[in-house]
Amino acid sequence: MATIVYVEHDGTRHEQQVTDGWSVMEGAVKNGVPGIDADCGGAAACATCHVYVDPDWLAATGERTDQEAEMLNFAENVESNSRLSCQIEVTPALDGLVVTMPESQH
């Protein structure tokens, strides 16, 4: 279990307990946290689970995969801390992770 903090674009915070092995995307979608569409169900194939990782957590969350980078290439408002949340696996080491949602998913 880890607590993941999801921050909507308007600042609304959602603190969720997320099971180890789930993705950060699943932690939001399965708990009804809005702002992540996840049309492809976690295959890094749609880029509608785009989030910004809090800079303090960049090292812990690791690097983008190749396919993820390719998809992020076409998302809107991509920043250096942009990730596809379906590609970040939750582990106890991510307890307290803060991610922010973009204004919209495209």
């Binding site: 569409d37 996840a38 049309d39 492809c40 169900g41 295959a43 890094a44 194939a45 749609c46 880029a47 509608t48 396919q67 390719e70 998809m71 290439n73 076409f74 809107e76 204004e103 919209s104 998913q105 495209h106």
Partner: protein
């Protein structure tokens, strides 16, 4: 499945019988007449169960592989290194000996692989991004309202012509920055692009080429106007000024205009007609929507799944590859049947039913996946959402009075016409 549907399945059904009586290696799911008759389903049902990656040796489109299950389609769609979109993404009859391609050098980014694809897609994408759609939304609403207010009450009319075509053409004309009075040219050109000569829209290839020349001339003029003026924010202006696209060859530019014309026209138009048709066939779902308008976004996604406005996308294998136990050879044609993936019960529960409050309505394969995933998906959804918001303000019901006439195509899955009556206004 409902009892009525089960009974219908059990009843005599020549289309189903034909699909199951054909030897598997002779099965050809691409025959356009099956799509016109809405009878293609049985081939796909059989293929998903018996040969999910299947080879048709002979067809009007040459030999091809069919991929029919949701997850397999996604796997092909994602792997653009192995499954290339070049030279084209639509099944076309092979050229006769000595025949030249219809338009030499025509290039659109839907039929390009990375990295070239990426550059052009990025130039077009801002025009249909959620941010830009906030500007387009009120315009679409205004036009939708005007169209709906002009509809006859208590009198039969063609929904395709009077609503679906009008609204999608208006939206596209706005996106291109064209004068509104030219909007129906777009509808016509869009139909001509996907038409097979000899089946209605155009009679001969020469005639098709002649129409292409007018279409080309029109957009060349639009480009020339934009390139010499300050940026105006419309799509043609963006293409003419963006460093990534302003040096495109004329045929590349025209290819992308065609892509946006077809992409933005038929698909959305047919979903709009499909939504009225599906809701009229499923009155319980219509009642659900009326009782809870917050289901609208979910109804829109379900309609896009159920309709599957583009039945397939085509790929070419770039190397010999084993895929799900089948040996696909370099340069083989591989067809992803989205129309089948959206009926795959391993991924979608009760896939043949139209259910507007599914748990995950956005889980469908109509927009494709991977680097070519539909760039206009939000614009399509927005138009559907707005037109229904405006319909629900005005009309308690829209009655479909006859089975719609379907398009004869294994690519564009849609309607030529659909007769409806609106009995009254609120």
């Amino acid at each position: 499945m409902s009892t009525a549907a089960t009974a219908a399945f059990a009843a005599a059904n020549p289309a189903r019988d034909a699909a199951y009586a054909t030897p598997l290696d002779k099965l050809d799911p691409s025959r356009p007449e099956l799509f016109a008759a809405d009878e293609m389903w049985w081939n796909f049902q059989r293929l998903r169960a018996e040969a999910p990656v299947h080879y048709t040796a002979e067809s009007a489109y040459g030999p091809f592989w069919s991929v029919t299950k949701y997850n397999d389609i996604m796997a092909v769609d994602i792997d653009h290194q192995t499954f290339s979109s070049e030279p084209g993404i639509m099944m076309v009859p092979p050229l006769a000996p000595g025949e030249t391609p219809q338009l030499e050098g025509l290039a659109m980014f839907i039929a390009m692989d990375p990295p070239k694809h990426d550059v052009q897609r990025k130039a077009v994408s801002p025009a249909v991004s959620p941010t830009n759609l906030q500007i387009l939304g009120p315009l679409i609403r205004e036009r939708a309202a005007a169209i709906l207010d002009g509809l006859p009450i208590g009198e039969e009319f063609d929904w395709v012509d009077k609503v679906s075509m009008e609204l999608t053409a208006m939206t596209l004309a706005t996106l291109f920055g064209m004068p509104q009075e030219d909007r129906r040219k777009l509808t016509y050109w869009s139909d001509v692009v996907t038409a097979e000569p000899g089946h209605g829209v155009v009679e001969t290839r020469e005639q098709k080429m002649g129409i292409f020349r007018d279409y080309h001339a029109y957009f060349t003029q639009l480009w020339n106007e934009r390139v010499n003026a300050e940026p105006t924010g419309d799509l043609i202006s963006m293409l003419a000024h963006d460093p990534a696209t302003r040096d495109m060859s004329p045929m590349e530019y025209f290819g992308n205009v065609m892509l946006l014309t077809v992409g933005g026209n038929d698909t959305t138009r047919n979903t709009m007609t499909g939504s009225v048709y599906a809701l009229s066939k499923n009155p319980d779902q219509y009642a659900k929507l009326m009782a809870d308008p917050s289901l609208l976004p979910s109804m829109v996604s379900e309609t896009i799944r159920w309709q599957t406005p583009l039945s397939h996308m085509k790929r070419r294998a770039t190397r010999d590859v084993e895929f799900r136990g089948q040996q696909i050879k370099k340069d083989d044609t591989v067809v992803m049947w989205y129309v089948s993936g959206n009926r795959d019960d391993e991924v979608i529960e009760r896939p043949n039913d139209y259910i507007i409050d599914r748990a995950r309505p956005r889980q469908h394969i109509s927009f494709g996946f991977g680097v070519h995933r539909c760039v206009g998906n939000r614009l399509a959804e927005l138009q559907l959402q707005i037109v229904w918001e405006e319909i629900m303000k005005r009309f308690p019901e829209i009655n479909v009075v006859a089975e719609p006439k379907r398009v004869r195509s294994n690519f564009v899955k849609g309607y030529e016409s659909m007769r409806v009556v609106i009995p009254r206004r609120y």
